[in-house]
Amino acid sequence: MIRDHFRVLVADLDAGKGKIELVGGREEVAGGSGLAALLFNRYGAPERPWNDPPQPIVFAIGPLTGYFPLMSKTVCAFKSPYHDQYTESHAGGRSALALRFADLDALVITGRAPRPSCLSVGSRRFEVSDVEFMWGLDVHAAGKLLRRMFPGSGHRSIFRIGPAGENGAAMACVNADTYRHFGRLGGGAAMGAKNLKGVVILGDRASQLPETKDYPKLFKEVYRKVTSTDMMSKYHNLGTAANLQVLNELKSLPWRNLKETADPGIEGVSGERFAADTLLRNVACAGCPVGCIHIGFVREKFLAENRYLYRQVAYDYEPIYSTGTMLGVTDCFQVLALMDVTEKAGLDVMSAGVALAWATEALERGLVSERETMVPLRFGDPGPYQQALGFLGKGANDFYRLLARGTLRAAERYGGADFACVLGQEMAGYATGEVFFASQALGFRHSHLDTGGYSYDQQHREKDAAGAVDFLMRDEEARVFLTSMVACLFARGVYTDDLLADCLRSVGYAALGERMGEISRGVQRLRWRTRMATGFDPSAVAIPERFRKVVNWKGPIDAAYLDALRREYARRIRELAGEGPPAPAASGDLPQG
């Protein structure tokens, strides 16, 4: 599996056939983010809409996937139904190792199946199955059927969509192995547009390891770092939910559609509260001994005579923020119940919660009525939210169908754009300041993981737009290399440049380690160029008024500084995309063997 090219399975759903293609470019793009962009340029049509059947969905892994701990993520790239531009979404679960053991560097899915279908692939398997009976089923029901229909329990990855993806909701996610998600920017709808309910990847092949002693020795060293030191303890212990208390104390936790940034109600939804009252167990992505996935439970009395059912729900910081504090819900079990409904509908929980927070304020202000919302949305009242999440997933009326395309779309019709908490997409849970707001609004994935803008806000008081944007550009460049490997970004403190170079050398990719800076700058540029070819104009990015009204531990947001950051970041992105040699997309085909 160490090879100087990429082994790619291209599945054509129109024909129900697959083709193995050997694609060059390893030395230029390494894998993961770089490979995904390379393949989108090869198989996609930037000028055509996201739901044009030939548009590809790419799942890509990297040169270190499976070889080292926490090299356990998959990059999914597609043209997003949210903004009709190129994007990436990342997930773990068993997806990355399943692709590795299916002997694929990437899976590219093109075309549209004539009927609702499931694609099943492995090192010796290719099958497009009719699953018409599954259309309309929620994520959990579909998952149970897919587990029964295909082989490989524990050694496969199962992606599936819910009703939201079938309905073309731009905030529909792809569920990966029950507890992980390609969450943001509508990958679920990209699958739905292809009539693709599920993808099953069977990891059924082994490969020889390098004969040297360096590799097992280095593996042991990395393993020790991630398990024996405190580098990863945040993720191991309370998990990302530990951030709730911290950000609330910093007055940087969005509450009630970002009207406030701290609230005593935090006691009910802190990471400590979730762990003490709801935590059932932890699970891990395959290849990661940290086990950051925290699973709580919801218990529901369905008959008066003490008859209960229970479900297990994975929680993290972002889902608690979006369905908890953003909606003013301060009971951990009620928050888990909201996450559970969101999960079943196949919605991205961050987008859905933030969209409903806007809808609640729009209802408060009389911009919409209960005729639109169908239920009396009210901050702190979980019952109507539970119903509304179902309406959003199903597209129950014009209002919810529009809202599922993005909060700003709904605001265009009903008003209220000024209080829409949208930074490129519905905001992540960091009201840390100007740098984070600019970084999410303009970041490549509009993700809090594109760069460490939120941590820059916490470490810097000076208002130096050029210096802050320098940091964002450099940080993105470093993270792009990690997402080309493909590492979990939680491991960014462990995988220093030197360690990455050692890892690459130990498995036979020394050249990638030696050219790390050049490769990451090249991939960073390639991704932005690809995004821009699909219509992104960084100068056109607007930041809603609500963000200018935020008050956090530093005091009120400085609107002038925020604007300076936005302009400078846009300028630097345009400059980066415009410089350097042409993209390597069209070159490097190998003889097909």
């Binding site: 070889y67 990891g203 082994a206 490969s207 390891l209 097992p216 699970v283 891990a284 001994p289």
Partner: protein, 148 residues
């Protein structure tokens, strides 16, 4: 002779570190299949993970089934494997009552040799290399704390 046991599988998080370690260190492969211990998810009533590994039968039915002497009984339970004698017939895997032997695409068998090299790679201490007598007790009390 020591025997690999899984006394605390209820702690398992499904990271596959044990399988990957066995494949890496014993079989020199990158795999979660070609390993003496393999993790599968257990859905349904008992949610969590199960380990598939040799339970150290004594005598071992796989050794009895092997027609070429590649598998022979190991003192204390389990088998000693001589791969150069194996004809890839798969009868060992068919004879195993607990699905502990994995056959790869070429029919090569992979079974736990009870060396314990996976143990230190389990982040939750699910695994233990135990004396043969303890191992039987441990196997029957899966999920409970083993006497250490």
């Amino acid at each position: 002779m020591k025997v690999l046991t899984t006394p605390r599988m209820e702690r398992c998080i499904g990271c596959h570190s044990c399988s990957l370690a066995c494949a890496r260190l014993v079989h020199r492969r990158l795999s979660w299949d070609t390993a003496g211990i393999r993790i599968v998810s257990s859905g349904g009533l008992s949610t969590g993970f199960e380990a598939r590994l040799c339970l150290a039968c004594d005598p071992a039915p796989c050794a009895a089934a092997c027609p070429t002497g590649a598998f022979s009984n190991r003192r204390g339970g389990g088998v000693v494997v001589k791969k150069n004698l194996c004809i890839r017939c798969g009868q060992c895997a068919a004879a195993c009552p607990v699905d502990a032997i994995h056959l790869d695409a070429s029919g090569e068998p992979f079974v736990c040799i009870h060396c314990g090299r996976c143990v230190s790679f389990c982040p939750h201490d699910c695994l233990e290399l135990a004396g043969a007598a303890e191992s039987k007790a441990g196997a029957g009390r899966e999920g409970e704390e083993a006497v250490r």
